[in-house]
Point group: D2
Chain length 266, copies 4
């Protein structure tokens, strides 16, 4: 059978994910702040600890991506190439090393959900919007001091988060919270649905060929809203750190498994 | 950590799937036909064989569901309760037993995607529509001889399938192709992304407390359309068998693993 | 040129609205309550007065429709046949007669927007959901005492309203606020965009061939939420009147102009 | 009452359109070709004639906009600021002057529909996608020779058009078909729905403060597809003229009525 992910068929033509490497080009708005480290700890599974320094640091990140496989066919069918993402990143320690970790994440296309699952991102579907910079006219911010961006996230008809970012100057890099290799869990509960996982892994990954373009820092406002089925408000903004706009490209092809526990083969 | 599926947190409040059992009530339109058994074989992975009898039988099924968890909270937030589904079912043999098997499937909500992944359904996001019967007026079919239903499926802005069903009488049951326990694969490729699966299972499952309501049979037309990323047209309609409308309820809580192969624990 | 609405072409094939009559079959949930009559008055234009009796009565109505033109072609392409609607109705007096009047309304398909404009409904696009009754299983309410329905409205990623309706018994009719012929304004501002309308009409209309099916009354909860671009919260629930579920069909083909003011012909 | 468009209320807060001027910043991909002038004539109402020169010229244009009102509040709520558009423009002659004219148009937000109606654009809802240029990475075209863009349009789950544009060099301006002031009809059928219009106008308009940024020309492919409710295929590509990518900003505040016919006031 062919096909990286399902459905696997003789041709592999309908597989929801194409083979790696995958390529990404995008713009991101990052809001970094501190919350109560106890709230971070409530998101860390067995084997994970809080980061040694600044354990309560959080990044709420909006991203506007174009992405494609290595034959670039998606670019010419942009509905299969473009997606937006909102994700909340924390830091942690596993087996003595520090990592970034995605706690919550929403995207608006199915290939982005499944790609995320491969990488251990806990992806849900949402409605994500963020301002794009413009070079002409009044209907958008300029990439210069004073340029003002909006960003919103909603899911299931409830607004979950909204932010405003105002450029104050250029920056070397877009914060630090999402700056380490990721450490994620990949769980696949047994179909006996009895609390046991067929597979439980800890994985780490980085992209490659990453390049950063323009990067700006600025002031921000960020609000998180309640939902009966979400926990963003468990990470309240106790102290702002900083916010950034930047453009980036990266490719992805593989990660590394750090730990694995499975049910027996038979 | 709590949470049936991700994200797992201390509270489990934001887990994308609630615990089982899950309950479903819905209406389905089923189109059964025969295609070339070789085309079916091209969809069967290692260990699977064609069904002994009528190996080329296919069911293309549209479903309009309401579903909820065992505390029924989703019912009062219907955006989290309602979804539509289109799936293509074949039959097969595994370890000497006959099963139904879902080859292709689309839904329009994220909880339906992830629930399907748990059960081995290869779920994608699509735009699915089907006529609902009405008891008054002209803007819909009656559940009686002559009642005429439309059903369509699209994904990524391409129409993939459309059918028309016309009631000719009542029926005992809605066909046979989707009538056996399911046998699905659950694959989770290793994050090393090198062609190896961390987990490869064959699973089977049935619902429980299933009840069928009204059931009608009828004539049908069904068209399948090409897409650069789909394979529905690999199962052309060579001979019609029959079509059905029926209402059903079912609950689901567990399946059984038939085979498992994993990478080593460490 | 042919075509009831735009675009008008030689063939009329792409006109966004087909000719009348239009046929509707649907299920509605109605929440009736009283608000401050001054708030109603703030929604009434020149020539309109508050209703003589119960001037503060409001109906917040959710509807799940199938609708079609007189050749019924839309039924077999249900994406062009089905839509949901949420509308807020008040009562008023114009030229000495009492009417119902739609103050705010959202739908989720474009043909429903334009059809509404023809009839003077101030239609916007929204995300509307309501429970459907089921006859089998647990994933929906029964049409009997205790049956419990949810209804929600969102627009631009903000939840605007949500209600819960619980059946307590049968009812003769689904309330009274939406029971009179409608009296609406149809304004078309001049393209000189200087505060003048090219056309300003007051119109009235009713459907024909209306039939009501089952009708239930019950208890309810209803919440309205703020938005920077909406005014639902200007009609707070000061006193509940009653709530209803009912099924209905109706056809529509014409209304009557009650007053007209235009800019000069040239 | 306040409110530029509906609903008009004492506050005007919920009016679907804010007051003018409206500001736009965007990127456009334009495909110009020739079709049979008879096909153009079939789209021209009474009083309109074919253009004297190149009467069969057509532009199929995709646009990715941010737009806002004069207080810029929409920019920070980007879901209310961003929309995409696909429109087909022809040329014509009215009262001896040459104009551009929009024959068909789709957008994906309701404010864009209503704004279009004000300006006589025959707007429908569609799903519109187009590649965005990138400065980093592989997941998008560069604004340089060889940069390759895709553009698609779908409505009601049918793909209606798709194009590919490949940059060959810079250009002075993005074609000519959409380069004249627009001449549109604004029709509002009487609610008596008997074939008479309450209002029938011919209007013209231009934006102001328009600025063009970078502009590129290139080669293209363009395909138009059938739909039971569309007529794009009535304008087949008989001969390509040229294609362009460009960025632009413009503001809009008013047009001019060229002719008006109304039913009597009363």
């Amino acid at each position: 059978m062919s096909g990286f992910y399902y459905p696997r068929t003789a041709s592999g033509k309908s597989a929801i994910l194409p083979p790696v490497p995958w390529h990404y080009s995008g713009e991101l708005i990052t809001f970094e702040y501190r919350t109560d480290p106890k709230a971070i700890a409530a998101l860390l599974p067995e084997g994970f600890e809080l980061a040694d320094e600044d354990p309560g640091a959080v990044a709420a990140i909006w991203a506007d991506w174009q992405s494609c496989s290595d034959d670039f066919n998606e670019i010419l069918d942009p509905v299969r190439c473009q997606y937006k993402e909102m994700f909340v990143v924390i830091r942690c320690k596993f087996q003595g090393k520090h990592y970034s970790r995605c706690a919550f994440i929403w995207v608006d296309k199915d290939f982005a959900i499944i790609r995320g699952q491969h990488q251990g991102y806990p992806k849900k579907l949402g409605s994500i919007h963020m301002s794009r910079p413009v070079t002409l006219g009044k209907a958008g911010p300029r990439l210069e001091v004073g340029g003002k961006f909006g960003a919103t996230l909603a899911a299931y008809d409830r607004r979950l988060a909204e932010g405003v970012f105002t450029i104050t100057g250029t920056a070397e890099k877009p914060g630090f919270v999402n700056g380490l290799p990721m450490a994620h869990n990949r769980w696949y509960p047994a179909i006996e649905t009895n609390g046991t996982d067929s597979l439980s892994e800890v994985v780490t990954m980085s992209g490659f060929d990453a390049q950063m373009g323009r990067c700006f820092k600025g002031d921000f406002e960020l609000s998180l809203f309640d939902s009966p089925v979400e926990e963003l408000t468990s990470l309240p903004i106790l102290e702002k750190i900083g916010a950034y706009w930047h453009e980036v490209c990266v490719s992805w092809k593989a990660g590394t498994t750090l730990a694995r526990k499975t049910l027996p083969d038979f």
